[in-house]
Symmetry: C2
Subunit: 240 residues, 2 copies
């Protein structure tokens, strides 16, 4: 029933609504100058945004007048603020992120997280609170866990072997050919010389503008144009 409708507003416009809503606070009005300050934009940018919000029926705006939100505007603003608070609460009270950082991140993320995620997040906060009442302070436990393993910077995503184009290898470095891109035109020429995947080669000299590149492989010496080299994907050796 009372579902929050797709507001379809840009992050920027949502932030204007949020700022107006927050500034209005007790007085229900916001001044252009304060909106500008709170969003860190020029006053003229606020004028422009207000015109758009008015056209969308979200703000009551007349030039040189105070600004208020329409009912529709208030509803959207309240929803943005709600998301902001839920996300912030999770970051601070569950994850233990520093308040300032959490606020900033939340005010960016609030525009990207849909109702499914937000409702789960809210529920999760409730879950943590309930547990803490039952004697198991999850947030506290987590804080202790964090300290015990200070930085775990890896994540088991797909591991990428760091392959680069031969044109990016510096002189003196050895590397192994992983793959040669394309088979027609200039590249055909390369492939036809013994340059095949698996070959180890060493970059000898690179001309000032990266063209040409001299490499040594299988005893031969070869001069490659940068354009050609860029199509030879290599894996760096552990030299250097």
């Amino acid at each position: 029933m009372t579902a929050i409708k797709d507001n379809n507003l840009s992050a920027s416009l949502e932030d204007y609504l949020e700022a107006i809503f927050n500034l209005a606070g007790a007085s229900n009005v916001a001044r252009s100058k304060d909106i500008a300050k709170s969003l860190g934009v020029a006053r003229s940018s606020v004028t422009g945004a207000l015109r758009v919000l008015k056209k969308k029926g979200l703000a009551n705006y007349r030039p040189y007048d105070y600004v208020t939100l329409t009912k529709a505007g208030q509803d959207i603003a309240a929803e943005v603020v709600r998301k902001h608070n839920i996300i912030t609460s999770f970051f601070v009270n569950v994850l233990g992120v520093e308040t300032d950082i959490a606020q900033q991140a939340a005010c960016r993320a609030e525009h990207t997280l849909g109702p499914e995620v937000i409702s789960k997040l809210l529920c999760f906060i409730g879950f943590v609170n309930k547990n803490s009442k039952n004697g198991y302070d999850l947030a506290d436990e987590f804080k202790r866990f964090c300290k015990s393993r200070p930085q775990n910077n890896s994540f088991s995503g797909k591991q990428m072997s760091s392959t680069v184009g031969l044109d990016e290898v510096k002189p003196g470095q050895k590397c192994k050919i992983v793959r040669i891109i394309g088979r027609s035109g200039v590249n055909k020429r390369i492939a036809d010389m013994g340059v095949v995947p698996g070959t180890i080669l060493e970059v000898q000299r690179v001309a000032p503008l990266g063209d040409p590149i001299d490499v040594k492989l299988k005893g031969y010496r070869l001069s490659l144009r940068k354009e050609e080299a860029s199509k030879i994907m290599v894996e760096l050796g552990q030299s250097e």
Copy 2:
């Protein structure tokens, strides 16, 4: 040391890097057409983005050629993908969000969450996993908790009394004046008549274009211009 530097890229450019990185997968090359498809943009948009990425030294791009990422481009792309995966993992495995939705939300949020939040999130996933090995399956417990209280749609943020401008009130509705905005010019005239905060009034008739608005208050009848009415903030009565 090996700190990921501020890449300072727009969300859009990060997504291009991410798409190229993912498409490259085994072959290390990506084709424009596939980048376009995976991001849902026109082919010409890809050309534009590639030019920018090249200028920034992140992609090896020559017109009509395959695309590869430079080392710098790969590093940033890998970081974006890492964030994407961490966020997705949290949404799916901890919060229990549906996979598709989680992926979409993660691919938006990955551009807004900084290293502090991401590292805590990663740590939290580890925390949940460790507990589950120790017999306490937090994610599972949470799932059960979610079901037990289906929808808790409120959040203890600041509660806003729903005040609107008098110009938004429909005929027949009663409301209470909460505040009158401004004191000079036309508004002074209003304030000078017994129209003060606390007064209960009822909207009687609204002309076709919302101007003028006839209201009844304290036995009097008053005709207000829309401009004036918009400055009278009221709280709606429970009629209608």
